[in-house]
Symmetry: C2
């Protein structure tokens, strides 16, 4: 059988499957490669160096890999099959990096969880009291169950004879009318897990259901990344591969199990003690987790299989917790406004706010909601990836060495900070927004986005006919080549921010809320938390309001999931929200195009909405 | 590998399991042998003849098989292991006979079944109506579901994309709030099955849930018979064998599956079209079916694991019907008053009768209830087996050749009928009751049960010191030996009928109902249907009331199961009944002993309760 060895880890993979690609083998070897296209040979991210032979060069290699790299053996891992023994080196920049994941999320909610842990002592049977195990337990629970209703699965009922024929103090682990477990163990049912399944990152929170305290938090990259960076590539992967859905499902389930295990290990409890996992994710993540067909989400009219809140026994999808435990999802609103956004809305408490607010959650997708206690409208834009650094020349996620903030002086000197203070490798979303905002303020770019190459600064250069602004010089970077913002990067960013702004303004019109009436703009998610509100406002990402009312609310999706785990009423609220929200499909709005084209300008073609920004610009 | 061949069928069984007994091999070969002791070598019923060798004789063989049979190779099949090639002949009298099973059961109940089959046409999604599959279906069901509540399992939801994205007329198969199936098939969900799981016999009824019509009925012996004739031997079998419970469960499930298949085949539908099976059985059958531990039922204080009505997805216990279908059991009342008796009570409509009635169900166990709409008390007696012919010299079940009715003339001539008119092989329950009643009337036995051997009739003989009455002479029988009632047989019957009578009288006292106030005595089950009320009354099996008010009500347990299948309210009634019935544990009643000893007499020591019987006796 052909064997492939990966360096520097030294992991060996043997396979008799002549169709196994090197990228699939790398995943098996525990070193998943970066990928945007999901293995279709179009993104060029899964580069490896073959050291054991001079490997054949495919058409895609020639198109996507620079000649000098081709010479030293670099190839696309997704285009090469493991048909012979191979030794492969994975350059560190192509290992899927561990991103800085936003885990902070604060909740303040009364604990009244769906999982209840009720201490109980059950009377022993006798000839005068020849009552069945189940019925004696039910009597002992008395008023602590709903109208005397109690159900239990066959395996739980089968455990009764051992437990209920001797005098013991027990705990009944209840969920609604169902008895999930009868335990003598103190920890059983005491904890629950909330998981935010993002397209890029997955965060799990282990919560004490009694105190509401967060006991542990663990996060990781979503391993589905190996099948595509964004939702659409993964849906395409699922359509093009017969076992696509099941691969996507098993990889996210594996990730969840690992995170749950890590959380439990950190406070020394067993995963068997956990009886509920509340998950939030966008509609596609939701469908992939539950193994539902995503084709409806990929094609117009973009309908999910199920939107409503949904729960299954954890074992049905392979999530390993207490035997009869559940995985529950909050409801989705529509094909592109998922349970994660419902969770954001729960955490933002928009539904109980008198003053209207705007909530923007820019993750891999962007979701927007506007409203207050009287009503909420929501929409989504496929504008997210640019804010995560995707499709930009030096864009990268928020990992080590990413420039996260920068400023440009009048002399076009650039000063910046990087994540963990390492030598810069690229720019993450907040860095890109800073860069463009600062370039605009410094007069490097015009309102329409054009780089003024005529300024004649050494920071501006033209390569292959395209203008570029040098953010970090060759000497400063880890790659020994300069980090630049190209004209095309600016165009990408213009598209992204214009979509967000146009969507926002349509929602605000719909709700009859002008920006002067907006009480606050709440920014959820990692990008929202790290971006400088001032920079985002200058490029016109959102309507102009005073900066002290633009507030980062952290991982609000995670916070909403925790709230739902800790309080049953919050779930009812979620269902109410999901059904009462007015979902606005932007593709069906005639005004969208106009708004979008106006918003391509910095801050906007119609400057009257941005008086403060315009005065800042003119003052520099 | 040793091979064993069974004659006359010629079936071959190969085995490498040196522990496999010949009786187990016979079961595998499709010719299960009769057995009362469950293979413990004590009942002597599993006799076979070894023709391939002169087999070793075990201690049990010597004790239980007459010398002349030992000589011709007869051995106990449960005591012989298949360690070498064998040829085995099974004498026809030892093949477990197919009993005449009482299938007739009439129900008259409005059809309002738990399984509902709702025609539905679901609006297609569009950009203006981008609503999820599940939610569009729920809207389409509208007022036909309870407060808009709808749940469905993951596999059912997974079927939506295929069905709900093109215009089709569908049927939603609902049970409570749960959608069990979405079908384009006319038959799906139209039928249900009610099954009466008796200790000895199993009867399945396929019902049309729309019309309430019985479409098919199939019955068979309970295959657990191979592990013991009565409930107690089976519970002992389960305790003594590590896989005992699972063997008992799988054999009854297999039997149910076969009966369901046969029912479905007879009207050419698929078992997948069935989504509910309602079962009734005694508490032990109930526990064995669901795989629950029966040890609590075998030992004082005789508590079940669960009494309440209970349901599981059919697949959980291996019952093969529609994927998400259910097996539901009516509630049990106590360890020895099971769901089958609750079903009998449903069918008897005792709970809506103003006039008090007595319901007696003599199956393998005997259950008794007394009461009316104001209250019901129930008990059980382990008195049943004798009425099924067990433990009597020539007792047999109601199969071919059983004497079912007889009369004795003043000259002690006996005339009788047999089942299917064959040469007599023994006496079934109704035949035994006739025999003893007629013997008593003819003066062959005294009121205390003693046979008057001093009568000097050729019908009376003494063998090994024991008096016997010859019912059928050697020339008349199929075995070429006389069929007799021995003194010991009479004693067995006295014990049995005394227990029934004592139990009945205690219940009647408890409910303050004298026999003069009894409106009717309803006899359920096969014995109750076949026994001559006049004979039963003469031996004092039940209180004396006019004979036209002693009514056989057929397989009332089956009728009750059908009612519960056809009407949801009947199930609520069943739960109400099971919890409101006063269960009387005879073992805890001080008066029981006195009543029992009095009732050992014919008709009773206290003749004042039997004026009519006494006048009949004295007139003969």
């Amino acid at each position: 059988m052909p064997r492939i060895r990966f360096e520097p880890t030294g992991r060996l993979i043997e396979t008799s499957n002549a169709d196994l690609s090197v990228s699939e083998a790398a995943e098996r070897a525990g070193t998943p490669l970066d990928s945007v296209c999901g293995g279709r040979g179009t993104c060029g991210r899964c580069r490896v160096v073959v050291t054991s032979e001079d490997p054949p060069i495919t058409e895609e290699d020639r198109r996507l890999i620079p000649p000098k790299d081709l010479e030293r053996g670099a190839r696309l891992a997704c285009r090469m099959k493991v048909t012979r023994d191979l030794v492969i080196e994975i350059p560190s920049e192509f290992i899927r990096a561990r991103q800085i994941i936003l885990e902070n999320s604060f909740v303040s909610v009364e604990t009244s969880p769906m999982i209840r842990r009720v201490p109980v002592k059950v009377k022993l049977p006798s000839l005068d009291y020849p009552v069945g195990d189940f019925e004696r337990l039910r009597s002992a629970l008395g008023g602590r169950i709903n109208e005397g209703r109690l159900t239990a699965s066959l395996p739980v009922i089968s455990s009764f004879p051992k437990l209920l024929r001797s005098e013991t103090d027990l705990y009944a682990i209840l969920r609604g009318d169902e008895l999930l477990h009868l335990a003598s163990d103190m920890n059983s049912g005491k904890y629950g897990v909330a998981i935010d399944v993002g397209t890029t990152t997955v965060v799990a929170y282990l919560m004490d259901l009694d105190s509401g305290k967060e006991m542990a938090v663990e996060s990781d990259m979503n391993p589905q990344m190996g099948h595509g960076d964004d939702v659409l590539s993964r849906m395409t992967f699922a359509m093009e591969n017969s076992n696509g859905h099941s691969l996507l499902q098993s990889s996210i389930v594996q990730c969840m199990n690992d995170l749950i295990d890590a959380c439990c290990a950190s406070i020394d409890i067993s995963r068997e003690d956990v009886f509920e996992v509340v998950v939030v994710g966008n509609t596609a993540m939701h469908h992939m987790l539950f193994g539902l067909d995503t084709i409806g989400l990929a094609l117009s009219p973009y309908v999910p299989v199920v939107s409503d809140s949904f729960e299954v026994k954890a074992r049905e999808i392979g999530v390993l917790i207490g035997d009869e435990g559940y995985v529950s999802s909050l409801p989705n609103v529509a094909g592109f406004v998922g349970a994660d956004h419902v969770a954001v809305l729960l955490a933002s408490r928009l539904w109980e706010s008198e003053d209207p607010k705007l909530v923007i959650d820019i993750g891999t997708n962007g979701e927007i909601s506007v409203g207050n206690s009287e009503g909420i409208a929501s929409t989504s834009c496929a504008a997210g990836p640019a804010f995560e650094g995707a499709n930009l020349s030096f864009g990268m996620r928020g990992t080590d060495g990413a420039i996260d903030h920068l400023s440009i002086s009048d002399e076009l000197d650039v000063s910046y900070t990087t994540i963990n203070g390492l030598k810069p490798r690229g720019l993450c979303g907040s860095g890109v927004v800073d860069a463009i905002s600062e370039m605009f303020k410094a007069g490097v770019i015009e309102r329409n986005g054009r780089i003024r190459e005529e300024l004649g600064s050494p920071r501006i250069r033209i390569v292959d006919g395209e203008s570029q602004f040098i953010v970090a010089t060759r000497d400063e970077t880890s790659m020994k080549e300069p980090i630049v913002i190209t004209q095309n990067d600016i165009v990408q960013m213009q598209y992204a921010k214009a979509a967000m702004y146009a969507g926002t303004s349509i929602l605000m019109d719909r709700m009859k809320i002008s920006s002067s009436k907006l009480d606050a703009i709440l920014l959820a998610g990692a990008f929202g938390n790290y971006v400088r509100p001032a920079s985002a406002r200058i490029i016109g990402l959102f309507p102009e309001i005073p900066l002290d009312r633009v507030i980062g609310i952290g991982n609000a999706a995670g916070a909403g999931a925790k709230m739902a785990l800790l309080n049953e009423d919050v779930r009812k609220k979620a269902v109410e929200l999901a059904t009462s929200i007015e979902y606005v499909e932007l593709a069906a709005q005639v005004q969208f195009e106009d708004r979008f084209y106006n918003a391509l300008y910095f801050p906007n073609y119609d400057t009257s909405f941005f008086p403060q920004v315009m005065s800042e610009i003119s003052s520099t």
